[in-house]
Symmetry: C2
Subunit: 283 residues, 2 copies
């Protein structure tokens, strides 16, 4: 786990840019100076999208070489978040709020002008399952907006009182009518600028070979890896997750993936030309 | 990654119970029927606490055998959460709320009686760093409540507009005055019943061998693994994280760990006798 490896870096920083697309290996790269590289030569062929850029750091040891794209404490400033709605009233007493920096803090918060309570806004977790069955994966066609009619993994907001694995299992039951057993954590993908969400995806298996669309899905279907509808996926997080999975399957080693999806402000959830995967770390 | 392994299971389900304590191997276990086992015989010796129970599932493949402790879709009911405060007023219009199940949902929500908006409450992420330096780890003594005077990893709530890795880096700067580079994801620990939090911990290294306590810390110190103050840790999540880390170091393989910390209702944050680690999965 110690070595950081820069692959698929941005061309602006001198690294090789890479586009996940049909018939191309996702792992052509150049390493940063001094970093130990890890190379996969096995190609895979997800369909579609020629415009996705991934800026990856593969950490496969417990220490790493310096890496210009690695997250560092110089990046301590929290970036502005595009679509966070301002809180106008206190949830507890109903008093109007004002935005100010509370004592001992560094960030603007909504503070109640009556009772003084601070309203904290934090990112939410979306939890879901990547279900493997007979070398196929289970996808759901969305029957609701956003991304109506596009394909996704069963996933939804984690609720108070449940674990992430329980939430992923519940969402799979609700959206795909499938009883699953969670096998292992597979990916955490943060989307900090748009949506304020973190995707937590688990690998899972069907307890019985039965599934059926719930109210939020119009169709559920098992897809072989070569037939995944990459041109019709609902969200960039799903696009990235499925590409990482195919990549791991083809290279014979399932990893845990961490990364940040940087979306272009104003882009739609399903626009696969408007994001990059940054700070990709493996464990 | 395909085989699920039941280790350190609960005695009530017929598996071996295990207590992490000084001088004992954490990996004594019996396997569930049909599961492929993975055994570590290397002992480690964290101090203190004789009352922590871990119910682990080690998934080291892409499929697993059935496991009675695995998370399944039969567990779809979201458990009641002990300390979630009821929302009385709408944050957007100030109108009073009522608790009801919205159309198309299954869970009680606070709904504004004036504008009709639903107030969703979701778990929050606490992000932090486990910093390795010269075979030691960096801990901070808390200068604030809760757990004033006890030791912890630098960690805090993830903010809107940052990734988990950026948040962990920021918190490390704020609490330990240390500039770090995040190396790899190490653990996700959910605490669903008390606190409504999910801990996301990264392995990290110091960019420079400098650190100093921030306002929330009274002291920062590097500890060798044998000297970690297990009797004076601030939170169960930190206790579990450090035990898992020592376990991995001693066995020579750093994994990504997922698990659920089940706390006994009413127990304090630092009570190491009042929780278990359930559904422990590896990647």
């Amino acid at each position: 786990m110690l070595k950081a490896i820069q692959i698929l870096g941005s061309s602006s920083s001198g690294f090789v840019s890479q586009i996940w697309r049909k018939g191309h290996s996702p792992l052509a790269f150049s390493s940063s100076a001094g970093a130990r590289t890890r190379i996969s030569t096995t190609p895979f062929s997800p369909r579609g999208t020629r415009c996705f850029r991934a800026n990856r750091v593969y950490a496969t040891g417990s220490k790493s070489e310096s890496n210009p794209d690695a997250v560092s404490s110089s990046q301590v400033a929290v970036q502005s978040a595009g679509n966070v709605r301002k809180i106008k009233f206190c949830q507890w007493c109903g008093g109007p709020t004002k935005y100010d920096i509370p004592d001992g803090e560094e960030k603007m918060r909504a503070i109640c002008t009556v009772c003084g309570k601070i309203a904290y806004q934090n990112p939410k977790m979306v939890v879901g399952c990547l279900i493997e069955h007979d070398k196929k994966v289970l996808l759901c066609k969305r029957n609701i907006e956003p991304s109506f009619g596009l394909w996704t993994l069963p996933a939804g907001y984690m609720e108070i009182g449940e674990s992430a694995a329980e939430g992923a299992t519940r969402e799979t039951w609700e959206e795909a009518g499938a009883e699953v057993e969670v096998l292992s954590p597979f990916a955490q993908l943060d989307i900090p600028l748009i949506g304020q969400q973190t995707y937590i995806i688990f690998l899972a298996k069907l307890k019985r070979p039965h599934f059926a669309p719930g109210p939020e899905s119009s169709e559920c279907q098992l897809f072989s890896l070569d037939d995944i509808p990459f041109d019709s996926l609902a969200f960039s997080s799903i696009f990235v997750t499925l590409n990482l999975y195919i990549d791991d399957i083809r290279t014979g080693k399932l990893n845990f993936h961490y990364g940040t999806i940087k979306k272009r402000p104003g882009s739609s959830a399903s626009d696969m030309c408007a994001f990059s995967l940054d700070h990709h770390l493996l464990s």
